[in-house]
C-alpha cells in the first residue's frame, strides 16, 4: 500500500459485549481536517464504534490504525497521547468538581505538543458562559452548558481527532445551533472530527463525508453533499424499506 492520507482508519473492526457481537468488520477512514458523520438508528453500534477507537473496548491491534500504525486496543490514556479525544454520550462530566477543575484535568493530561492549540482562554472565548460559571459545580449547569464543558474538556486534550457522540441529544434547537457553530472553528485548526448523530439532516450539513451504520454493519459511505434521502433511508432502515 502506498502512503495514505488517513489520520485514522479501521480495517475489519469487530467488537463484542460477551457473546453479543456489536460491530461486524467495519472499514472506516478519516483524513486530516475532515469532518465525517456517522449516522444510524438506536442501537446500531455508533457509540460502540467510538468507544472502540478510544480504547475503551478490547479490540485487535490491527483493527485500528492511527497514521498507519496499528493501535487497536491501546489504553485510553495512550490514545489521548496519540491525539484522540472524545465527547462521550451523556457528557460524563466529573461530578462534584467545578467547571474549571473539569477542564483542568484535561489540561493536566493533554497530548504533549510544542504549541497548544487550545487554552482555557480560548475555550472561554468559544463558550463565554463557561467563564462566568467556572467556579460552579458541573451538576448545577444546564444540559447545554454541560455539553460545552464536555466539548471544552475534549479540546483541551489537544486532539488531532475529536470524537463527538450525540452532542445534540436533549438540547434545545437554539443550543444545538450554538454548539454546532463551533465545529467549523474546530475543524479550521486542522483537527479531524467524527460526529455521531441521530439527526440525519444536522449530520449531513455539518460533515464532508458520512457513513451509515445498521446493526453493526456499515451500510453506506458517501460524500455528504452527494447523498440522497432515499440512499440514507435505505441504509438507515435496511434493504426493502419503502421510501415514503
Amino acid at each position: 500500500m502506498t502512503s495514505t492520507p488517513h489520520l485514522l482508519a479501521t480495517r475489519n473492526l469487530i467488537a463484542r459485549y460477551g457473546d453479543f457481537q456489536a460491530l461486524f468488520s467495519v472499514d472506516f477512514r478519516i483524513g486530516p481536517g475532515e469532518v465525517v458523520a456517522l449516522i444510524g438508528a438506536n442501537g446500531a453500534g455508533k457509540s460502540t464504534f467510538l468507544r472502540a477507537l478510544m480504547g475503551l473496548l478490547p479490540v485487535g491491534r490491527d483493527m485500528v490504525f492511527f497514521e498507519d500504525q496499528p493501535v487497536g486496543g491501546s489504553q485510553p490514556h495512550h490514545m489521548v497521547q496519540l491525539g484522540v479525544a472524545m465527547v462521550p454520550e451523556g457528557r460524563r462530566l466529573f461530578a462534584g468538581m467545578s467547571v474549571e477543575d473539569n477542564l483542568k484535568v484535561a489540561i493536566d493530561h493533554a497530548r504533549k505538543t510544542a504549541e497548544k492549540t487550545w487554552t482555557l482562554e480560548r475555550i472561554y472565548k468559544l463558550f463565554p458562559i463557561l467563564q462566568e460559571k467556572r467556579a460552579a459545580q458541573v451538576e448545577k449547569l444546564s444540559g447545554g452548558q454541560q455539553q460545552m464543558v464536555a466539548i471544552g474538556r475534549a479540546l483541551l486534550a489537544q486532539p488531532r481527532l475529536l470524537l463527538c457522540d450525540e452532542i445534540s441529544l436533549g438540547l434545545a434547537p437554539k443550543v444545538i445551533r450554538e454548539i454546532y457553530e463551533v465545529l467549523p472553528e474546530i475543524a479550521k485548526t486542522g483537527t479531524s472530527i467524527i460526529i455521531v448523530e441521530q439527526d440525519v439532516m444536522l449530520a449531513q450539513r455539518a460533515s464532508n463525508r458520512l457513513y451509515c451504520m445498521l446493526e453493526g454493519h456499515i451500510t453506506l459511505e458517501s460524500l455528504s453533499s452527494d447523498v440522497t434521502r432515499a440512499d440514507i433511508a435505505q441504509a438507515y432502515f435496511g434493504a426493502g424499506h419503502e421510501v415514503a
Binding site: 479525544a85 468538581m97 484535568v105
Partner: protein, 285 residues
C-alpha cells in the same frame, strides 16, 4: 471543669482517630474502596515499629522515617496487585478481597508476635504532660492532634489544588471518563492508596506509644475510622477529621457519665447521625 476536661480529652482522642480516618476518607470516602484490613495494617505497622525499636534501639522519629515509606509501599502494592483488579462501580469486590487480607494479616501477626500486648518506649514523651489550671494535657496526644490536623489540611489541599488530586477526584467520579481525558486511573489509584496506607505508618508509631498493641486490635480501629468517615460525610477529607472529633468527644463524655458507657456513646452518636443526617455532617448533599 469535669466536662471541660472531658471535652479536651475527647478532642485529643479524636486526634488519634483522625489519623486512621484520613486514609479511610481517601479510600472509602473518595475512591469508594472498602479496605477491611485498614485497622490490621495500623496494628501490623505498630508491631513492626515496636520490634524494630527493641531490636535496633531506635527512637520514634527514625522509626517514622522507616515505617512511612514501608507503609506507602504496602499500600501501593495492595492497590496495584489486588484492588486495581477489582476496581469497579461498587464496593463489594474490594470488601471481600480486603476481608480475606484482614484475616490473613491477623493470623500472620498472631504467629509472629503471639497474642501478648506490647507498647513502645518513647523516651519519656509518652508520659509527659502539661498542667493547665488543673487539667492535665498529655504531650503525646497534643502532638498526635497537631499531626492529624496538618495531615488533613495537607491532604485536602492536595486533593483540590494539585494535578494528582484533580486526577484522583476525576477517576473517582467517573473512571472511564477520566481515562478518556488522559488519566491512567490505575496509576492514580495506586498512588492514592500509597498515601492512605503511608499515613498509617505514622499512626502505627503513635498507636504504639499511646496504648498497648496486640494482633487482634485491628477491627476496633477499623470501626472507628469507618464511623468517623460516615459521620463526617463521604467524599470530604475534612469530614473524616470532624467525624473523628465527634466520635472522640462522644466517647470521652460517655466515659465521664459511666466508664462502661464510653465506647457505646460513640456508637450511639454514629447511629444517630446515620438516622438523621445519613449524608454526613460535612457533605454538601
Amino acid at each position: 471543669m469535669k466536662w471541660l476536661d472531658a471535652l479536651i480529652q475527647g478532642v485529643l482522642l479524636g486526634g488519634m482517630y483522625a489519623q486512621y480516618a484520613l486514609g479511610m476518607a481517601l479510600m472509602f470516602g473518595v475512591m469508594r474502596l472498602v479496605n477491611i484490613a485498614h485497622g490490621d495494617l495500623v496494628v501490623l505497622l505498630a508491631l513492626i515499629g515496636i520490634s524494630a525499636s527493641v531490636a535496633f534501639g531506635i527512637g520514634p522519629l527514625p522509626l517514622v522515617l522507616i515505617l512511612v515509606p514501608l507503609a506507602a509501599l504496602i499500600g501501593w502494592s495492595l492497590q496495584k496487585f489486588v484492588l486495581n483488579k477489582v476496581v469497579g462501580a461498587d464496593s463489594l469486590p474490594s470488601l471481600i478481597a480486603t476481608f480475606g487480607l484482614s484475616i490473613a494479616l491477623q493470623n500472620l501477626m498472631l504467629e509472629i508476635w503471639s497474642a501478648d500486648t506490647r507498647s513502645m518506649r518513647g523516651g519519656g514523651i509518652e508520659s509527659a504532660s502539661i498542667d493547665i489550671g488543673g487539667i492535665y494535657i498529655g504531650l503525646l496526644p497534643v502532638l498526635i492532634l497537631v499531626a492529624a490536623t496538618l495531615l488533613t489540611g495537607g491532604l485536602d489541599l492536595t486533593m483540590h489544588r494539585t494535578r494528582f488530586g484533580r486526577a484522583l477526584r476525576a477517576a473517582a467520579a467517573d473512571t472511564e471518563a477520566a481515562a478518556m481525558t488522559g488519566v491512567n486511573p490505575r496509576v492514580v489509584y495506586a498512588y492514592a492508596t500509597a498515601i492512605a496506607v503511608g499515613i498509617l505508618g505514622l499512626s502505627g508509631v503513635f498507636f504504639a506509644l499511646r496504648a498497648t498493641v496486640s494482633p487482634a486490635d485491628g477491627p476496633a480501629q477499623l470501626i472507628y475510622a469507618f464511623e468517623a468517615v460516615i459521620i463526617g460525610g463521604m467524599g470530604s477529607i475534612w469530614g473524616g477529621f470532624v467525624g473523628s472529633m465527634v466520635l472522640g468527644i462522644a466517647q470521652a463524655i460517655g466515659f465521664r457519665i459511666d466508664p462502661g458507657f464510653g465506647t457505646l456513646a460513640g456508637h450511639l452518636v454514629f447511629l444517630t447521625v446515620l438516622a438523621t443526617r445519613p449524608q454526613g455532617l460535612m457533605s454538601r448533599g
